[in-house]
Amino acid sequence: MGIVVENVSKNFGDFVALENVSLEVPSGSLTALLGPSGGGKSTLLRVIAGLEEPDSGTVILDGQDLTASPARERGVGFVFQHYAAFKHMTVRDNVAYGLKIRKRPKGEIESRVKELLGLVHLDGFADRYPAQLSGGQRQRMALARALAVEPKVMLLDEPFGALDATVRKELRAWLRRLHEDVHVTTIFVTHDQEEAMEVAEQIVVLNNGHVEQEGTPRALYEQPANEFVMSFVGPVNQLDGHYIRPHDIDVMVDPSDQASEAMIDRIIHLGFEVRVELTHHDGSRFNVQLTQPQLEELELTEGQIVWVKSGRKTKFEDGETKISA
């Protein structure tokens, strides 16, 4: 039930949305397509679903070449950013839609809808209309609707993009658990690296219509293939030609070997985490991530001169990633 995409290209007029994209998503996995907006991730998802026709390339679902098949024959469940709820139908009729199209027996539809509404925690909402639901509830209804027809793959296009931060966090955790229960091959599109890392087992970074890198969240963070991935999957500083994560810089109040001088511009409290903004003696600006206890121990104040020493540094040269400690 895996998804294979081979050399897919797609242009919209002069705009290159996808350029020779190849991708392999193992059966049963939960994969994130991560990238900036306009990077081609939604287009790729729509090509896989059959909602967009690629200019060239192949889409193989479950070992079958479905490039020429219309969306309705592909057996994919698609979830849209803005829910795409059928507004004139109740929650029950929304979820039952695909089953009714397939002319399943009434009793079967009824029990399946009930089971799905339980799965997405919407029992008791069957007779409501989408307008009477919150955004999070609507999106869960849309998920149940897509799952009802037992799709081979689930494709979610920025599923939490239209929700507020709290609901988004809740639904992320919920989606992970749901995937553990249902275990259908799932791809979801997001521009939020934290969301991708939290939910997905595998991340594919798309930018400017091509794949920058694919791998586990940890691999992307620790072994980024290039500058783009390095700076997209987490905060980063650039100091003397090297890329350094804010938590890989030590701050000291006294001079020490291999340390250089910097001045603290600003201290930003983010709860347990503290972000310190500094200006290096060579004029470049950078951030350091500390914890609240570390800050208290060092007794740092804005305007203070400190000594900094970088730990793990990353350099990209001739298409290679070089990491030094």
């Binding site: 679903a49 059959g50 909602l51 219309p70 969306a71 309705r72 592909r74 994919v76 469940g77 698609f78 849209f80 803005h82 795409a84 709820a85 059928f86 507004k87 004139h88 839609y97 695909g98 199209i101 397939r102 849309a142 609707r145 897509a146 009802a148 027809v149």
Partner: protein, 282 residues
């Protein structure tokens, strides 16, 4: 004593409330006066004049063979023009909003032609195109179909002048609902026909309904274009709207008023029916 104490704030509150109401009233009064002078008063006058001498003359003038024929012909215009323009309108709106094709902008502009051109010109154009001396008209006459000065031409004229309403009402609704619901339907296994009936049509139903009401009103009330192609033969090519004018010119006021009243009642009934459906729907 205690009742007095209670009364003080009430007295103080009253003028405030009255002032608020008066502020709201000014635009309402202007609006109602405007509507009253321009709409309600003339319609009420027709009602009053119609029934001035009781109901008998009204019934008499509406039951003549010519009046009955006019009523039937009006019904015929509506029953042919409205469904045809509704189907055409929905299909054309879908083509204009959802599809890309060459010549789309030309079609988009052409659809508004009946709004832009005076109905009298529409009638003359139809005579030029379908008259017995034209090539199309001549060919049709050879095959036993006469268009000009017959109900066939009147139906054509009615269709022509009422063509844009459904298209123009449906296009903005189609744009507003977007394509996501239709795409969702497709991924759930529905073909285009199923998607249209189960998703698109229910979503645009109020746009279609408004379009139908406007088309119907125009079909009931069209005078200019229909008049030119009809030849105005009482009892043969005369709709109720044409009859109002014809009776008026023959100084048969009761006849003119009665026909007007029937038209007004039909138009009001259409509007009322739609509003009732809409209320039930929500």
């Amino acid at each position: 004593m205690s009742s007095n104490v209670g009364a003080i704030p009430r007295i103080g509150a009253k003028p405030k409330r009255r002032r608020a109401r008066r502020r709201l009233n000014a635009p309402r009064v202007i609006g109602l006066t405007y509507l009253g002078l321009l709409l309600a008063a003339p319609v009420a006058m027709i009602m009053y004049r119609t029934f001035e001498d009781g109901i008998t003359p009204v019934i008499d003038s509406l039951t003549t063979a010519e009046a009955q024929h006019a009523l039937w012909l009006t019904f015929l215009m509506v029953i042919i023009a409205v469904p045809l323009n509704t189907i055409f309108g929905v299909v054309m709106a879908l083509l204009l909003v959802r599809k890309r094709w060459p010549g789309k902008w030309v079609m988009n502009a052409l659809i508004d032609l009946p709004f832009a051109v005076s109905p009298v010109i529409v009638g003359l154009a139809l005579i030029l195109a379908y008259g017995n001396n034209s090539s199309i008209g001549g060919w049709l006459v050879d095959h036993g179909i006469e268009v000009i000065f017959t109900p066939v031409g009147m139906v054509l004229a009615t269709i022509f002048v009422s063509l844009p309403f459904v298209v123009r009402e449906v296009i903005p609704v189609l744009k507003e609902i977007g394509t996501e619901q239709e795409e969702a339907s497709e991924t759930l296994g529905a073909n285009s026909w199923q998607t249209f009936w189960k998703v698109t049509l229910p979503a645009i139903r109020w746009g279609v309904a408004y379009g139908v009401v406007l088309t119907m009103a125009r079909a009931l009330g069209e005078f200019g274009a229909v008049s030119v192609v009809s030849g105005k033969l009482s009892g043969q090519t005369e709709t109720l709207t044409l009859r109002v004018d014809e009776r008026f010119e023959h100084f048969d006021m009761i006849g003119a008023y009665s026909a007007s009243m029937v038209l007004a009642v039909m138009a009001l009934a259409t509007l009322l029916a739609m509003n009732i459906f809409k209320k039930e729907d929500s």
